[in-house]
């Protein structure tokens, strides 16, 4: 069992409260996933051509300042960073791919949780409320956010095995379920140059969708391709820079509820996560149908 929540704000005036609402949603899913929790927030965009990376090292005294200095010198650019518990958000005046390459070569002890221009990803062991508060979720603004509470079945309870999984710039995926053909898909993806960080079946799904998106598929097309290629049980919620999507497998035995008002779209494993959002009692509420892709797009900022 796991819990998934996602919130996509249609009304820009709600954006300052994105994190506050997602926190409430996430905590309601504690009973579905008390092992670990993770969040991806489409937060303030990095300025100009800068990129933003969320990095993790378990050591609370990790010398982030030194690493930032080395990185800035090596790439001849400015590096800003903000440390939150065992994570650090680094804003770098270079393409995220260059930064990730440099980190892999020079600091393999650092794990990249998320990267892109907007997205920040935090995941950690512990109850959802502890994880949310450790990283200051309640104070985060943004357009959309996704969260996951994990009760592990297929792989270990570690920070690395927690969701969301990132496999492309500003893209993340959370998954409730289990895939049965992840070994074959992993091989298929490795041949296409993907480097895997965990043995988690959900990472396979994240990389699969990233692969389809990189081939030019739209968000909807990428998920539809997954219906044919990914075998198993799943409710997926995926975020991209300007998109938000939900998909359930053909059997739909993993739960999901969608709700929509003029102001927001919310996805959760159960309605109780949605119940406390403003106007939830008047929202259109429905169960996403099996094998149907649901997508929403961020309209240009008003």
């Amino acid at each position: 069992m796991c819990g998934i929540v996602g919130l996509f704000l249609k009304n820009p005036s709600m954006r300052p409260k994105l994190g506050k609402h997602l926190r409430t949603m996430l905590i309601e899913m504690t009973e579905r996933g008390p092992d670990s929790a993770g969040i991806a927030v489409y937060h303030r965009p990095a300025a100009g051509k800068s990129s933003k990376l969320t990095l993790f090292n378990a050591d609370p005294k990790f010398p982030w300042r030194e690493v930032g200095g080395q990185l800035g010198q090596a790439l001849d650019t400015e590096v800003d960073f903000e440390v939150k518990a065992n994570h650090a958000v680094m804003t770098v005046g270079a393409d995220d791919e260059i930064v990730r390459d440099w980190l892999r070569q020079n600091h393999p002890e650092i794990r990249v949780m998320g990267y892109g221009r907007l997205m920040e990803v935090y995941k950690d062991m512990g109850l959802p409320a502890e994880v949310a508060d450790r990283y200051g979720l309640a104070g985060m603004e943004g357009t959309h956010a996704i969260g996951h509470t994990r009760m592990a079945t297929e792989s270990a309870v570690t920070t690395e095995h927690s969701h969301p999984f990132t496999a492309a710039s500003d893209m993340c995926l959370v998954h409730n379920g289990s895939l049965s053909n992840h070994n074959n898909m992993r091989k298929w993806l490795k041949k296409r140059g993907h480097i895997f960080e965990t043995d988690n079946d959900s990472e396979v799904a994240a990389r699969y969708f990233a692969q389809r998106l990189s081939e030019g598929a739209s968000l909807k097309e990428a998920l539809e391709a997954g219906l044919a290629d990914l075998d198993g049980f799943y409710t997926f919620t995926m975020g991209t820079r300007d998109g938000f999507a939900v998909l359930r497998d053909a059997f739909a035995c993993k739960p999901a509820v969608l709700a929509e008002t003029d102001d927001w779209v919310a996805m959760a494993s159960e309605y109780r996560s949605i119940a406390n959002l403003p106007g939830a009692d008047k929202a259109k509420v429905w169960a996403p149908a099996p094998s149907v892709v649901y997508t929403w797009e961020v309209k240009a900022a008003a």
Binding site: E28, A252, P255, V257, E270, Y271, R272, S273, I274, A275, N276, D281, V285, W286, A287, A289, P290
Partner: protein, 227 residues
């Protein structure tokens, strides 16, 4: 009418209060507000009381209901009225998956749509859905009736025993051993009575009847190669 606000009272306290009511209680009319998706709301009732829920309950609402009438002014989560024994459960909105699962008696009315696997393994309950139901509905249904005024998803009535299925709309596909059967005057009268009891306005003559072909009951010698 006794009103219980779940913003102030826990589900456990509410359920225990209802469970303790004697059969001849005078506290017969209850109203529950602020359910906010809570699980097992008013499950295990065992007295002829009437409970109205304003809002959306979560999983297993009115499960194992006996004698009580439960009315939900909202949508229900998974496993609504699961294993109901008697009484009536009525939902003004939609119900999620496995509504009326394993129900042994009583009447379940969903005025909106019901999700996947509606009436799975039903054992005597009568279910009337004014809207549509999803796939694998009435899977392994044993006895009772499932009436669907709208459409039905794939594999309807798969591995069915003796339950009676009535559908007004389209059936995406029938499951193993489920076939269309002739609507006899006897069945028409039963359906009319059931629709009336459920308070759902529909013309019984527009429904089709489905049931078991009874080919899975016994070993068939043609299948010997499969073993």
């Amino acid at each position: 009418m006794i009103t219980v606000d779940l913003a102030e009272t826990s589900v456990r306290d509410l359920n225990q209060r209802l469970h303790k009511l004697p059969k001849d209680t005078n506290e017969r009319a209850w109203r529950v507000v602020n359910p906010k998706g809570a699980h097992a709301l008013v499950a295990g009732l065992d007295a002829p009381i009437e409970v109205t829920i304003d809002g959306h309950p979560g999983y297993y609402c009115a499960g194992m209901n006996k004698e009580a009438t439960v009315i939900v002014n909202g949508h229900c989560g998974v496993g609504l009225a699961e294993n109901m024994m008697s009484g009536e459960v009525r939902v003004k909105g939609n119900a999620s998956d496995a509504a009326g699962a394993t129900g042994r008696g009583g009447l379940l009315v969903v005025e909106g749509d019901a999700g996947l696997r509606c009436g799975i393994s039903m054992k005597g309950i009568d279910i009337v859905v004014a809207g549509s139901v999803g796939h694998m509905s009435a899977f392994m249904a044993q006895t009772g009736s499932l009436v669907v005024c709208g459409d039905v998803g794939s594999s309807f009535g798969d591995s069915i025993y003796e339950a009676r299925l009535y559908v007004q709309g389209k059936v995406e596909s029938l499951g193993a051993d489920c076939i269309e059967k002739k609507m006899t005057p006897h069945h028409l009268a039963k359906l009319e009575k059931l629709l009336k009891r459920a308070g759902i306005e529909a013309d019984a003559r527009r429904f089709r009847r489905y049931g078991s072909a009874r080919r899975l009951y016994n070993f068939h010698v043609d299948n010997v190669d499969a073993y």
